[in-house]
């Protein structure tokens, strides 16, 4: 039994795919969530840790491929790409032997693809598709989605409740939102630098580095947010800014 999530921006397309998945008897699949955009999808994937996702390519704001780049490679589910027509993406899937199905979905093609997935459930490396830096960081605001440009982020940190982002809002000073991307992904795919095991800092937003006792330090950002710097990362920061 596989846990799956369907991510597609069209209601009818999701319904149809879920119906087809239910009809086939090749693999027992439970669709645990159906999401109407990549941001929602990201949240559900992180939350529900599915074995398999059906991922539409063309979606608003953040497309399927971009969303893939925001998932942690270590907990990456198996992906079946779904698209109506996208020459470039299809070429990439063919070249890398990734699984994909075309809309409208043929039941027998779906069965074949699922059979393949069942046979080799080991993790796949989607890096060829996802090694681009991120251009938008999806964050959950109060009752809305917030899409931040990496340059707007000042500090990202994690605690028990997840990843949080402190961003520079044009007039209101610093604002804090939660983000469904891991610090690791943010570190890899944005300019953010690690300054603490649980903190990332935007080097362009640093106003002050206060040196404290015990070779510790504290960073104050342009909009006044504070991030701790641990001993291990202070040296790297000093190297970076040539503060010797």
């Amino acid at each position: 039994m596989l846990k799956a999530i369907v991510i597609d921006d069209e209601q009818y397309a999701r319904d149809e795919l879920i119906a087809l998945i239910a009809e086939q008897q090749e693999v027992t699949i439970e669709v645990v969530a159906s999401c109407n955009n990549a941001i929602e999808g990201l949240k559900k994937v992180n939350q529900l840790k599915p074995d398999l996702i059906f991922l539409d390519i063309q979606m608003p704001q953040i497309n399927g491929i971009e969303m893939l780049g925001m998932l942690d490679p270590e907990t990456m589910p198996k992906v079946i790409f779904v698209t109506a027509f996208d020459e470039y993406a299809l070429q990439a899937f063919e070249d890398n032997a990734f699984d994909y199905i075309l809309k409208p979905v043929e039941p027998c093609r779906l069965r074949k693809t699922l059979k393949r997935v069942k046979c080799k459930m080991q993790q796949e490396n989607y890096q060829v598709l996802t090694d681009k830096p991120l251009s938008l960081i999806p964050c959950a605001g109060f009752n809305r989605y917030l899409l931040l440009k990496p340059s707007e982020i000042e500090v990202a940190y994690s605690d028990q409740s997840g990843v949080h982002i402190i961003s520079q809002q044009s007039d209101k000073g610093a604002a804090e939102t939660s983000c469904s991307l891991s610090l690791k992904i943010l570190e890899e795919k944005t300019e953010l630098l690690r300054c603490h095991r649980q903190y990332l800092i935007n080097p362009n937003a640093i106003r002050e580095i206060k040196l404290l006792d015990n070779a510790l330090a504290e960073i104050v950002t342009v909009s006044g947010a504070v991030a701790p710097v641990s001993r291990r990362y202070l040296k790297m920061l000093k190297d970076r800014f040539q503060l010797h």
Binding site: E10, D15, Q61, F85, Y145
Partner: protein, 564 residues
């Protein structure tokens, strides 16, 4: 007294010669003061001859010659300028010197100075731009008078012995002054007449040519076909007054007007060997009926007796067809029409070329339009089919409707040939398209259409609004996570139709507000401009993140033109 009459007698013969010469084309350059080398050369040769002729016609008196040589020298100067005058005078003078006599040197010097005098007068009037005065016979009379007085003085000064010279001058002065002055005046008058006739001829030629050009302008731009060539042939027939006019393409008669129209029927394949020759060799053929025989190749009883066949040349001298002017057997071809024919052929060739160019432009827009129609984006098609297959499962009736809409949409797209439709039809097309898109984006797209009813019967080029709506969805609302809104509005404003497609995405801005315009939108704009004029068309405006507006403006109640 007796000398005056005999000198005048000689003068008459001299002038008759001048008159006869004036009938030949040789005389033509004399009537224009072009200042070109060929003109000067002609002046020199002709007047040198008259100068020498004047000496020969002279009467021998007391070992000297009473003559009309001065006319040639002065006229040469007047019409050719100082250099020519000097040369003519010198030639005449040297010739006179070779005849000997006690005044030989004096005559040589005086003739040369007379030529120079004429030249200086020429220069005087040219500098002041009073060219017409030079042709005034009275001027010639006065200049000759002065020239003769000058000659007499030179004879008195130079010729030896002085007593003999004085004697001579007393005898010949009056007769020569009178004869030469009158002769020059008459000679100039002959030239002036010739000039007037020629100018009248050119004027009527130009006015005829201009009338034809004016009346035929634009007719062939509509295409080189039977209907249009018939119109052109009719105009040429009326304006030139020839027996008949025909226009052919490379294979057949396209138009024929005039005598013999009963058997020279449009559509008949060309059979005349002259015409074939004109087409094959791209040359003008004039079968005058005498030197080159002309017989109608279609009927033995044809009354036409002469034909002028001129090829119509296109780019790279490729023959497009011919224009033929005919005269009946008992009538001569006027030279006016002969030269007019060539000009006409050039005029028509240009018009045909122009029309071909225009055709190609139209073809180009048609090709672009087809491209636009074929651009029905595959993404739309497959998503539509996917949506329908899902709807079939849930609501077969609705699915059936969607299929009808989809086929309506495609049927419309396949109608390449319709160039313009009423706004109402265009809205139906949009409706079919939107039904599909609304089903796809059921939860996040709203479309409001609000078009003034008076506009519904207004004609617009096909695919004017639909691409804008498609654009608003594809690049606008479909990139929004939720709540996409598209407004299609239409109203009248100051006699102009204003149509707007507005979306609430505002994604169409590039940096520094530069507007990006895809091929589809470019074609929409181009076609509107084509139909209604350069000042109308499509304008995009965008406010980043909030709205994109595509706005079309064109005059109300005007059906699109310029496209067929």
């Amino acid at each position: 007294m007796e000398l005056i009459f005999s000198l005048l007698q000689q003068l008459s013969v001299y002038l008759v010669l001048a008159y006869l010469l004036s009938k030949t084309p040789l005389f033509m350059p004399l009537t224009m003061l072009s200042g070109r080398l060929s003109h000067r050369l002609t002046c020199y040769v002709i007047f040198s001859l008259f100068c020498i002729l004047g000496t020969y016609f002279g009467l021998a008196i007391e070992n000297a010659i009473a003559n009309t040589r001065a006319i040639g020298a002065v006229m040469g100067g007047l019409l050719g300028g100082p250099v020519v005058g000097f040369a003519v005078g010198l030639t005449g003078g040297i010739h006179r010197y070779s005849m000997g006599g006690f005044t030989d040197v004096a005559c040589a010097i005086s003739t040369t100075s007379e030529g120079l005098l004429g030249g200086l007068v020429h220069l005087y009037y040219m500098r002041r731009g009073l060219i017409e005065r030079i042709f005034n016979p009275f001027l010639a009379l006065v200049v000759l008078l002065i020239a003769e007085v000058m000659q007499m003085s030179i004879i008195l000064l130079v010729a030896k012995p002085y007593e003999q010279a004085l004697d001579l001058v007393e005898t010949i002065a009056l007769p020569m002054i009178i004869a030469n002055s009158v002769g020059a005046a008459l000679f100039m008058s002959i030239i002036q007449d010739r000039k007037t006739i020629y100018e009248k001829y050119s004027a009527s030629f130009s006015s005829k040519a201009l009338t034809i050009a004016e009346r035929t302008v634009g007719i062939l731009s509509g295409g080189f076909n039977q209907e249009n060539t018939q119109k052109v042939a009719q105009i040429i027939y009326e304006e030139t007054g020839v027996g008949a006019v025909s226009i052919t393409d490379r294979q057949k008669i396209m138009a024929f007007i005039g005598i013999g129209a009963d058997h020279h029927l449009p559509g008949t394949v060309i059979s005349s060997k002259h015409t074939k020759q004109a087409i094959d060799n791209a040359e003008l053929i004039f079968a005058d009926g005498y030197e080159i025989a002309y017989q109608c190749s279609l009927s033995d009883h044809c009354k036409l007796g002469a034909a002028l066949i001129i090829p119509l040349l296109g780019s790279e001298n490729q023959v497009l067809g011919t224009i033929k002017l005919y005269e009946p057997k008992q009538k001569l071809f006027s030279s006016l029409n002969l030269s007019l024919g060539e000009g006409l052929a050039k005029l028509l060739s240009n018009q045909i070329l122009n029309s071909r160019y225009h055709d190609q432009q139209t073809l180009l827009t048609q090709a672009e339009l087809r491209l636009l129609q074929a651009q029905v984006n595959p993404h739309f098609l497959f998503n539509a089919l996917n949506t329908i297959s899902a709807v079939i499962r849930q609501d077969p009736d609705k699915a059936r409707q969607l299929i009808v809409h989809l086929s309506q949409f495609f049927r419309r797209n396949l109608k390449h040939n319709i160039e313009s439709v009423t706004l109402q039809d265009e809205l139906k097309h949009i409706h079919a398209y939107l039904e599909i898109e609304l089903a796809r984006f059921s939860d996040r797209l709203t479309v409001n259409i609000n078009i003034d009813e008076v506009l519904l019967s207004q004609y617009v080029p096909t695919f004017t609004l639909q691409p804008l709506v498609e654009n608003a969805i594809k690049h606008g609302t479909s990139t929004q996570l939720e709540n996409g809104i598209i407004d299609v509005v239409g109203y009248l404003q100051n006699g102009l139709v204003v149509l707007k497609v507005i979306d609430n995405a505002g994604t169409y801005c590039l940096n520094n507000n530069e507007l990006q315009q895809g091929l589809g939108l470019q074609i929409v704009d181009k076609r509107l401009k084509n139909c209604f004029g350069e000042q109308y068309g499509l304008r995009m405006s965008c406010e980043k993140g909030s709205t994109t507006c595509a706005k079309i403006k064109f005059p109300f109640n005007k059906s699109p033109q310029g496209e067929r």
